[in-house]
Symmetry: C2
Subunit: 140 residues, 2 copies
DNA sequence: TATTGTTATACTCTATAACTATA
DNA sequence: TATAGTTATAGAGTATAACAATA
């Protein structure tokens, strides 16, 4: 058998706890802006530009049919718009409206600010190691 | 103004991406076990022992009324049980049944295994730094 | 035929407000 | 009065299956 040290599960456990803590933080920052965490995520993903339904559903890890109703609700609130795709008449592109763009940036900034507060007193060296380690984890 | 280096938002961004990756992983491991991620979380929280509704709702960051229906569904499936609390007749304790305990451990192990795979080739030094850094973040 | 997106349907998750029973 | 938990209600998130339109 492969030797398993206490550290292995410590790390897994710390990562799981961090995930839950960040999920809570995400919910707490979305709510005062009138958004569910899922809506906030959707808006933030669109900051870098419009996306088709299929691509968006892949990024958010939800079925296209689930996405349809989410986009319906956000469109009713004029936060996103379905725009025709001239290159493919089946497809559409979801893009942020001006109000949606504003809200997306508020969300994004609020989360980043809170995380920066939480990580403020990490030494620069730990910070560097952390970024590298997380990026390495994300590729697997 | 306080100087903000590129690294600050890199770290925040890496943490947010890690959160989403772990959320997906959590969903992927719960599903084949017939559980939603929220149900899996609830069961895993009970591994260390029974809890009252109020305490459980605090840990899961959901309203007590939302918890009531979650527990209803899990109780119908014989995964948890409401047990009377002799010390306070208003209160009850939610505990895992034998089947619930089994499933909770399967969930927990599956997630830990996947995370250990993802972190397997981190050098021991990075691993140590990562644990310390995450624990420090979690206290803020 | 395959792909894009939607509709219909059924559950689950979640919050708010009002409530019962007990402390 | 305060606390533990529930009920009623409404809205949001999600998946599956079946579908229309276009590629």
């Amino acid at each position: 058998m492969v030797t398993t040290t206490a550290r292995d599960s410590d790390l897994a456990s710390a990562l799981v706890q961090t995930m839950h803590r960040l999920q809570d933080l995400h919910a707490e920052t979305s709510r005062p802006l009138g958004l569910t965490p899922q809506q906030a995520h959707l808006l933030c993903v669109l900051i870098t530009g419009p996306l088709g339904m299929t691509e968006l559903s892949r990024i958010l890890s939800i079925e296209r049919s689930s996405l349809t109703s989410m986009v319906d609700r956000l469109e009713r609130r004029d936060l996103v718009a379905r725009v025709a795709n001239p290159a493919d008449r089946r497809a559409c592109r979801i893009e942020l409206t001006a109000a949606g763009k504003d809200l997306a940036h508020q969300c994004h900034d609020a989360v980043v600010d809170r995380i920066q507060e939480m990580t403020a007193d990490l030494p620069a060296s730990a910070r560097g190691t952390l970024i590298t380690a997380l990026q390495s984890i994300l590729t697997r």
